[in-house]
Symmetry: C2
Subunit: 335 residues, 2 copies
DNA sequence: ATCATGTGTGTTATCGATAACTCAAAATTA
DNA sequence: TAATTTTGAGTTATCGATAACACACATGAT
């Protein structure tokens, strides 16, 4: 491996001079600068960022932790974060927790051991608090994404879950639905709580009562407990519509319904949070509250970089991004 | 930041002893081992992987370079690669080239400067040769993914593009289509060439002639040149079906068709390579040759790790994974 | 002519960890 | 009991880069 010492020797200067040429610091005569540059090219020198990080005490690496890399919401978000980080001269280390606290913890350990300069952190849930405190203990700046964590003061970028949920449920109510089930994420996740609140408000504002037997909780990542669906279907007064708290749950619900011979929207209408990107573009189907995923990433990354490079004593900021109601064909009026 | 020296001092031993405890090397008495462990926990010690990498000359970081992070094929592939890498004790650095050679080059420079132990490399096209040679020059092992690069000898994991294309086109022919257009990727990409070969073979095997005015090339990432579609539509003898060389192109084509008031499959049948994951599961639409994306990543990663840890003189391996024809509703018989 | 200032470069110590070597004390063997 | 081996450490050099300081020489001011 070529080091600055190899360059230095061949150019007949000291290693420090080479370092100065690389970093454009100190005073160097034009003649030696040129000579050093030439040798660097000849030997195809690439700086060793490990060595540099060790002495500079910063890595120029940021980390993006998301909870599901196969969810288009998060990959679009990742694009936003990536574009912003690269433009600002940082490298981006992706991490994917799969909604799994243990995996999240492992990734946090990696980040600590890699000494990343900052983390854009989409937590798996409230219990992520511990991982965030771990980052804070080691003085690693972070911005929380998508889900709010009680007990932590930090910059945070959120979607308007309550409002989005309210709009979705009011759309269903407007179509004549009166019995609307909700397949929610875990109550350990702030968005799940707020989406439930929105669901509830939509009912109350329209003179309907919320029936808790129609509300089911599960992991945001997949609809694994089909017995919950059976309970809804065989309810004495079954729902005519289902509000899935995110896109992955909608996928699971619709598949499970189909397995039971029920069609959407003929037998049940379905709405959900988050869009499906390209796929919905070609064959629009799911009525959804689409969040501005790219902006989530771009804005969060911008806040993070400001936090790292700017005044550390910056006040904490809380951004709430609106979602857009996209009415498509997974909903229809009650017959 | 807590270092082994802090631990050493507090435990009343030398730094070397701490290092030995951390790595389970050398001889340490049970008593001191326990004492050191205890201090490590008290101080919340996290090893500095930069320092370690510097002396060990390896980072335990692998890199996965994909060409489009918003394409479900690649994210599913990423999951396979991630699972395999983590299980083997490596960290994974994602990189996303956006089908852009310049971005790919930037990422390769990052990998070199990060001194990753190996790269799982989905190239943007034949010109990626230069970036691969750059890796090779610096002795970084890699496995090529999805697209073959003429001029480079390496482990490679590919899909069966020719066969998949043949099956798709024969499906169309079976439905009575005789004028089948192809929206292909760039001829600079091996899969595009092979998919064209498959398209051609399907024609020849069925007594049809290939008409080159029906074949259009563009970037795999998006269907940006809509004039090409206009030329097809206004062709004196227009196609009744379109074969899009990947899922992203299918998205673009179908959207552009809709803008022009044409419906799929009523006015034109559409088939493509690669699936859309979850989205297609809820609302099956695109007839596609689905590739085993997860396996691409898992298998590629396995080859890479074998290459890194095993016998360096291993012979190069070439794996070809079959695709599965999924007949859905974007195709119908000619009226 | 003398002193201060500026310019270009080199020397040494350091970041945090580990490899290679050393060595005293304890345990074993002859 | 003396010689040898084993055990459980410590010392020093090193990975590749940069910060802080040092310093020779040229230039300009007085």
């Amino acid at each position: 491996m070529i080091t600055i010492y190899d360059i230095a020797e061949k150019a007949g200067v000291s290693a420090m001079t080479v370092s100065r040429v690389i970093n454009n610091t100190g005073r160097i005569s034009e003649a030696t600068r040129k000579r050093v540059r030439k040798v660097m090219e000849e030997l195809h020198y690439i700086p060793n960022s490990m060595a540099r990080s060790l002495v500079l005490q910063k890595t120029k690496i940021l980390s993006l932790l998301i909870t599901d890399i196969t969810n288009p919401f998060y990959t679009t978000l990742a694009r936003g974060a990536e574009d912003t980080a690269l433009r600002a001269g940082y490298r981006l280390l992706f991490a994917n927790s799969d909604e799994d606290y243990a995996k999240e913890k492992d990734y946090v350990d990696m980040m600590l051991s890699t000494r990343v300069d900052g983390v854009l952190f989409a937590p798996t849930g409230d219990h992520s608090l511990e991982n965030l405190l771990q980052l804070r203990k080691h003085n690693i700046p972070f911005v929380v994404l998508d889900r709010e964590i009680p007990g932590i003061d930090a910059d945070v970028v959120l979607g308007d879950s309550k409002e989005g949920a309210r709009k979705l449920v009011e759309h269903l109510i407007g179509l004549g639905h009166r019995r609307i089930a909700m397949i929610n994420g875990s109550p350990d996740v702030s968005t799940a709580r707020l989406r439930y609140t929105g669901y509830r408000e939509a009912h109350l504002l329209n003179g309907l009562t919320v029936e808790d037997s129609l509300v089911v909780h599960m992991n945001y990542r997949d609809f694994h407990d089909e017995s919950a669906l059976d309970a809804l279907i065989h309810h004495e007064d079954p729902p005519t519509a289902i509000f899935a708290a995110n896109n992955m749950l909608a996928v699971g619900v619709i598949q499970a319904l189909r397995k039971r011979g029920m069609q959407v929207p003929r037998d049940v209408s379905v709405v959900c949070f988050d869009d499906f990107g390209h796929a919905e573009a070609i064959n629009p189907f799911l009525t959804a509250a689409a969040q501005p995923a790219y902006q989530f990433g771009a804005l969060g990354m911008q806040l993070l970089i400001e936090r790292i490079e700017g005044d550390a004593a910056l006040e904490n900021r809380k951004m709430i991004l609106p979602s857009e109601l996209l009415i498509r064909s997974s909903t229809q009026a009650v017959q």
